[in-house]
């Protein structure tokens, strides 16, 4: 049961809808449901919204819409009647190990498992995309098997290639573009998580992700054609 929605002024041009202080699918689902409602029926003056783990930041133009009007609109959303719309399941091909996953062996050693077992456990679950952030298209994923969690590299690499799939602590994720980074890189996907030209992200908050192991040849084929079944 949702009691009164908690709303907080985030500066003078945004309102945060704030849910339970936890990382959980249940809480994040409320954020996503409210974000969807805002996108579908936003009153004039709403500029955009940023779903996060447990908050939805809604930007508005106070010259067009008052804080009170926006709060009234957000409070009108009925969580109870809103059946949770399942996000999409997006399959992401990953070539594990070798030149694409230089830290796979180290991660396996840390977990006291074989590299094959790390790959199996990493590609088994459906991960939830809680939010996108840090860099365009970067998914904050939840659902990593604790058996393959491993600490960040002590010295971050100065360059991690775009598409790299990494583990840091209990998090796993995909670098959308080259960047310095301290995650343990266990593989790489040929898919683009964010396309600068079309300005589209592969994923959105609320989606599920499953990593599908592929070989180097298939990696090259997908990279060439840009196509993935």
């Amino acid at each position: 049961m949702e009691t009164r929605l908690k709303l907080v002024a985030h500066g003078d041009r945004a309102v945060d809808a704030v849910f339970e202080n936890e990382i959980s699918e249940k809480t994040n689902a409320k954020v996503i449901a409210l974000a969807r409602a805002v996108r579908e029926a936003a009153p004039e003056g709403v500029i955009g919204c940023r779903p996060a783990y447990r908050t939805l930041t809604v930007e508005y133009d106070p010259m067009k819409l008052t804080y009170g009007q926006l709060c009234l609109f957000l409070r009108g959303f009925d969580f109870a009647s809103e059946a949770e719309t399942a996000g999409r399941l997006v399959r992401i091909p990953v070539c594990y190990g070798g030149k694409f996953g230089p830290d796979l062996n180290a991660a396996a050693q840390y977990a006291k498992l074989s590299p094959e077992e790390v790959v199996r456990r990493h590609s088994a679950p459906d991960y939830r995309v809680y939010m996108l952030g840090f860099m365009p298209g970067f998914p904050y994923l939840g659902g990593l098997d604790p058996a393959i969690a491993c600490p960040r590299q002590r010295v971050p690499r100065t360059r991690v290639e775009g598409g790299s799939v990494g583990i840091a602590g209990m998090q796993t994720g995909v670098y959308p573009e080259p960047s310095p980074g301290g995650w343990n890189i266990i593989g790489r996907t040929p898919l683009r998580l964010f396309d600068e030209k079309t300005r589209r992200a592969l994923l959105e908050a609320g989606d599920s992700v499953r990593f599908v192991p592929i070989g180097e040849e298939e990696f090259a084929a997908i990279e060439r054609s840009g196509m993935w079944k």
């Binding site: 985030h10 003078d12 940023r50 365009p136 992200a201």
Partner: protein, 314 residues
Amino acid sequence: MNGKMIEITNKGFLTVPVSAKRHGLESCGVPTGGPADPFRCILANRLAGNEDDAAALEAAFTMPGVRFSDERVIAAVGGIGEIAIRRGGEELAFPANASVRVFPEDELISRPLEGGMRAYIAVSGGLTEAGIALRTQSAEAGQRLGLNENVPAVRRAITKMPFDLPGENAELRVIEGVQWERFSREGRESFLSGEYSYTPESSRMGIRLEGPQIGFKEGADGNIISEGMLPGDIQITSAGQPILMLADCPASGGYAKIAHVIFADLPTAAQLQPGAKLRFRLVDLPAAHTALRRLMLALDGSIRDLAEPDGNAL
């Protein structure tokens, strides 16, 4: 060089093409972007006869060198009193904060800025949106940037500047941050009574400040579950020092936010220079919105059309 473009002849220190237009990509983790000082960019655009959100150049520390390829009206607003144009063999000076007509082969000359961190250079018609990278990218010498069709522009000047450049001592109005309650009473008092200096580790992403340490309530620290972040947010790092976010701040962040600079004071924040001393004053949300309405009215009343001296040269 044919018409409908400009050429960067000198990038100065950092010159970025910026556009205030939004793309609805904030939920994809794309930073807000756009001009760090949105209001001076609006003024430059209005002087050049453009819409408020037309794309323009943002210069930091130094004016860029820019060569024009057709007749346009341009205007510079920000940390600059005068602009210099090379025309033929001559160097001509024109006042900033007013429109200036330029002709093919005219060149805006690179000069250090004074009195403010940033200046906006608008060109009548505006830069094409296609030339604006989704994320800020510095223009480079030799780079050409497309212009839209020209728009008719009359001679205009700012006769009443709606805000001053901040100088060495500045005050920013803030409203309570979304994590205000996470800070100790002493921490909040330090923040509201202390003086904070602008450190060199600052950019369009944010301004790192240094001053009295800001502490958290017992049992609390600066780490929160990552959530949406906006220009104007003031995060407190684990070391107890503030970072004031600007246009290119990441779309999300995981440090607690003690306060938010009100939109009407963002121009002051964006014009602070290294060494500046800063204080914060708490206001409530209605006061912030009143300040914004006043600023928008002041913006509307700031520009006057001037008579063209001879119908051609401005």
